[in-house]
């Protein structure tokens, strides 16, 4: 029954194949079925969002794609090879910014360069350019605790981008930001994606953010975590903030809301 969900996918060799993936966490209070029977093919350079309420297995799936966690059943492959640990060319942004307190902003961004023994001088330029692009040019030598939450998250994004990864996995990167900063960073992210042709998997629980950014949205539900429907978003690029005021945007929003409703995500609204 999961096969027909992929009918929207065209192309012969998907970059990422997620096939019948389930994840069970063993815990003292019994096993937790975090994700069940997820199937999805992602093309190279595609922007895919995982959208769903908390606890539906978004982070779990992202970690498995990033090779940080193993699948319980099913298989995930990247460019034809099964995922076995974090792949080359991976950039990750986590739900928390996880900046290292003992490093300055610039040093935090340079961390992946140092860990991977990449050319220091060349990436130092890139790091500085990125930080300036994200409005942090005056904060290169500050420490993380001297920054606001929004600035910290931007540093974390620069850190994920500094090695110019071909696969970017982002776990609610803008979840903790105010709406204005969020809009600004959405546009920035779209820019970077359009210029670099990265494949991006983007986790969010904001319906409008998902519609705004994605080529496809994978709508999920919890207990157990699962895919309900995959929606293709057909807006031309680059999208501006004004796209949110179009009737088509409202249609997409309504559609996602109805999918959530019919799967019991907004239960208290019915009561």
């Amino acid at each position: 029954m999961t096969m027909d969900r992929n009918e929207v996918v065209s192309g012969e060799n998907p970059h990422i194949r997620i096939q019948g993936v389930s994840k069970i966490y063993a815990s003292p209070r019994g096993d937790v079925l975090a994700l069940t029977d997820a199937t999805l093919d992602i093309q190279k350079g595609e922007f895919v969002s995982l959208l769903g309420p908390s606890g539906c297995g978004k982070s779990t799936l992202l970690k498995m794609v990033g090779g940080l966690d193993s699948v319980t059943t099913g298989a995930i492959s990247l460019a034809g090879a099964p995922i076995d640990g974090p792949p080359v060319g991976l950039g990750m942004v986590f739900q928390k910014d996880v900046l290292l307190d003992w490093r300055t902003v610039l040093q935090n961004v340079m961390l992946p360069v140092e860990l991977q023994n990449l050319d220091h001088a060349e990436h130092l330029d890139r790091a500085t350019t990125l930080l300036k692009l994200f409005g942090l040019g005056d904060f290169l030598d500050k420490h993380p605790w001297e920054l606001s939450g929004g600035m910290r998250q931007r540093v974390a994004i620069c850190r994920a981008l500094v090695t110019d990864p071909s696969l970017l996995l982002m776990d609610e990167p803008f979840g903790a930001l105010d709406a204005l900063t969020r809009d600004e960073l959405n546009l920035e992210l779209q820019d970077i994606w359009m210029r670099s042709g990265k494949t991006i998997i983007f986790v969010t629980h904001s319906i409008s953010e998902a519609i705004m950014l994605s080529d496809r949205i994978c709508v999920m539900a919890a207990r157990p975590g699962r895919f309900i429907e995959i929606i293709k978003i057909d807006f031309p690029r680059p999208r501006t903030l004004a796209v949110r005021e179009t009737p088509e945007f409202a249609d997409y929003t309504r559609r996602v809301r109805q999918i959530f409703e019919s799967n019991g995500v907004f239960q208290h609204e019915k009561a």
Partner: protein
Amino acid sequence: MRKLDVPSWLREPPSWLVLTSLLVLWQVATWVFKPAPFLLPDPISVGRALIANPTMYLVNAYYTTANTLIGFGLSVIIGFGLALGIVYSRFLESTVYTTLVAINSMPKVALAPLFVVWMGTGNTSKIAMAFLIAIFAIVIDAVLGLRTLDTEIVDLGRSMRGSPLKLLWKIRLPNALPSLFAGMKVAIGLSLVGVLVGEFVSAQHGLGYVIMAAQGAFDTPRVFVAILLLSVLGTLLFKSLEFIERRVIPWHVSQRAVSH
């Protein structure tokens, strides 16, 4: 209701003022109550005892300090090495760590006489006591520091494909430093106690030796000089560590108020 206008030096008196007042109080008390000098000498005679033979105190303080620092230094190096082993090896964790925790619960000063039998009355037995008594604090705090790492930081390091050695050097080690310093600040005082106990049992020099010799001669002022020197020494050692800590981990929460 308005607060009374208390001057700041009285609301929050500086430590030199407190200490001087205590000395004055002690002096006045000995004048008033006139205790036998071998029970409680007055500060002036204690001062005289110090001035009478400063070199003798200096030489003995030197031995105590040197042995404390050597024992402490060894406990830091070996203790941190052990902690690394314990964190990275299940085998060492279930053997060495279990043993250490078991030994830690016994009063280690009880071993001092044994150490003198094994290692003689020279410096070695004092250094060994300082080492033994301090290493537990180092190992336990270092293990804690090395282990306490956010799972998200662990994931971050792995996602960047760092080698285990690089992850240790760039992430786990700096992350463990605050905890290691907490352990060292406990250990430095313990090292001094260890040396002192060794000197009490049997020694030819050191401030503990001075105390034992003076006590045998009922020369209580000399005992007091040695005790005062020991507290100055303890404070200096601790403050030096704090000084180093401020320079090594200025980024840590505990240091930010100081450095900014």
